[in-house]
Amino acid sequence: MRGALGMLVLLLLVLVGRGARAEGPRVVAGSKAFPESWILGEALRVLAAETGARAEHAKNLGGTEIALVALRSGAIDIYVEYTGTIDEVLLPAHTADGDRRQGLAAMGIAMSERLGFDDSYALAMRPEVAEKSGVRTIGDLARHPELRLGLTHEFLGRRDGFPGLAARYGLPQSGARGLQHELAYEAIRTGFIDVLDVYTTDAQIDRLGLVVLDDELHFFPRYDAVLLYRTDLPTRAPAAFVAMQRLVGAVSTKAISRANAAMVLDHANAETAATLILPGPARAAAAAPTVAEAIAHDTLKHVELVLASLAAAISVGVPIGVVASRSRRMGGALMTLASVVQTIPSLALLALLVPFLGIGARPAIVALLLYGLLPIARNTYTGLTTISPELARSAEALGLGWWATLRRISLPLASPAILAGVKTSAIINVGTATIAALVGADGLGNPILQGISLRDTGLILRGAVPAAALALAFELAFAGLERVVVPRGLRLS
């Protein structure tokens, strides 16, 4: 019974190790966290898969930096980027394709010719407000400081985004709110904001009848879609590479807008929407997984994330609690550190981890480990320091030495508290593991994130309901686990 906690950790590690089997070479297409990017990523995957390559699609990379790190580290092989983004985020000051290619080559990345469509930034406005105020161009906004702006965080922060735009046009609006892109559409539909930033291929522009404001000073650069890929891809997977190149010059603005609308408005999945932009004869979508299969897959991956991070949090948190119980100063420092980590927003924490750990499950597990640390460390500390003085003295009087005392007496006595901490940590992690989707890890965060982007409540629930059920299941599992881990003598009365 005394080894039960150790057994639990071992069991968790074994369960986790299961997911990490290696297979042969493969082609991984990436995409960022918006529908157009998923469609293009999916199209790349389908084209590669048709050549017999083992093609995968890493969805929802949490931003350009994360996608770039993923590409450089080999976590993905190819994804669709926009020239304007490359210039501003990847290669400041390069504006000609030759310069872009040269700069990218230094990072082991190559760039294709243009795919054919341009997805620029623009500002769009509610039609009734546009009519009433007479605003038709971005310049007109200068005369209407009362208008409320809701802008994406990336747009707010980038030099070629709002700061540059406001300077160029002398815009007086200072209180622009940062909003997630798809939620901004919801905000403008319901009238909480008047102006938002859009991509010119967004499906909602038509549907909501938004007025796209004229950029009369040509502030926004062109955002032509191109393929970015690892320079080793053409030699490593030549057939797949040639197939994926078929998108070059073949995707019109009309085609991509239609695909976007299919996904966002008609709730088609990315696979189906991708058929609308694939060159050649119309293709039937590959058999998409059923809803039940998708839920089962996401749930399993979610559980793996939670168990892996929990095992890690136990193996780090319990020793921290032990150290803290022996040295108040060291313990205080460690406990403070664990508390501070808890306050770091998840997206910020992931952004800090990706440069070191790449994308996928690894950074997600580390982030979850850090979030799960505090309850385990604190409960271990509390459990060990609240052992009655009589028992502590009896233990010391035996002459066992500190390690044997810890193993045979203190930890078993503290086991109910430690287990309660592990349980808290597990349940927190079930909820928090949805953030893993931001770094391209599978799990229940994927349907939630896609559901938010697509404003598809059904899709959100497909992630949220299993997550809630999982939390409940963990709760019950821990009640059972208590019988195994906590010695029977401590459960009397």
């Binding site: 009589e390 009896s394 009087a397 035996l398 002459g399 066992l400 078993p412 029977r488 003598g489 009397l492």
Partner: protein
């Protein structure tokens, strides 16, 4: 360095006083020798300069109110606190960081309620050190049976958890645990404090019998003067950090050295400390 507790553990109860060379060493030295020991916490002196010797095989009860310094004295002997001045020798060896662990294995320690660990059965509480030292299962069982007979407990008691035992049973199991490695010295800290009068009386009688049979040195700390008289040959009365009188109970009764001793012995109410 020799490993004395192993030598002791190898011997069985009956032969615990006769013995091999290691025990002969010990028999020559006093079980406890405090010389000029002083202890203060901050500016508060809890034990004034004290000399105290407990001969091998002797028994001494320390009696005093809480705050008299008797608990500190016990902690000094266990090596749980270090003296500010003076020296503590236990079983002929100086008590210190390097000797502490080995010495503690040669001291049997019993506190109120036995100090049993609630997560272990009675048997595993008793056998804790034996398991740690890697004894074979058969040897552990044999030793536990011997001790069980000594303290008069039924066999089925040993498989229960402390939470399932009566106060008296817990106390007997605590004594078994203290005696496991056959230590030459027993320390008892208010061992019977939590028991009701009937159980207490019976256990006092049993304990005295056991002490007499084993011939071990016994240091007992209690606030109960009557219990002290039953369990130990000599009584030392402590008051405000000093041993104010030491001797056989009869001597204390006949010639109390201070008003406090007189009061402690139930002397007349006119005398106040």
């Amino acid at each position: 360095m020799r490993d004395p507790h192993l030598a002791h553990a190898r011997r069985d109860l009956g032969r615990s006083l006769t013995s091999d060379a290691a025990a002969a060493d010990v028999a020559d030295s006093p079980a406890i020798a405090l010389a000029g020991v002083r202890k203060a916490y901050g500016g508060n002196v809890v034990l004034h300069e004290t000399d105290l010797v407990l001969p091998a095989g002797g028994s001494l009860a320390i009696v005093g109110a809480s705050g008299s310094g008797k608990s500190t004295l016990l902690k000094l002997v266990m090596g749980l606190v270090t003296p500010d001045a003076g020296s503590v020798h236990v079983l002929g060896e100086p008590m210190g960081p390097s000797t502490r662990l080995a010495l503690r294995r040669r001291i049997g320690y019993v506190i109120q309620e036995g100090g049993l660990f609630p997560h272990l059965t009675a048997k595993r509480n008793v056998a804790l050190m034996a398991e740690h030292l890697g004894w074979e299962a058969s040897r552990i069982t044999q030793r536990v049976d011997e001790l069980r007979a000594l303290v008069s407990l039924a066999a089925d008691v040993m498989d229960r958890f402390p939470g399932e035992l009566s106060g008296g049973q817990r106390q007997r199991v605590g004594l078994m645990r203290a005696l496991l490695l056959d230590p030459p010295l027993l320390l008892l800290d208010e061992p019977l404090g939590a028991l009701d009068a009937i159980v207490r009386g019976r256990l006092q009688k049993d304990l005295r019998g056991i002490f007499e049979r084993l011939g071990k040195a016994v240091l007992l700390v209690t606030h109960d003067i009557a219990e002290a008289g039953v369990l130990a040959a000599e009584v030392a009365v402590m008051d405000a950090g000093r041993v104010v009188q030491r001797g056989p109970m009869r001597e204390l009764v006949l010639r109390p050295a201070t008003p406090f001793v007189r009061e402690l012995l139930g002397g007349d109410a006119e005398v106040t400390a």
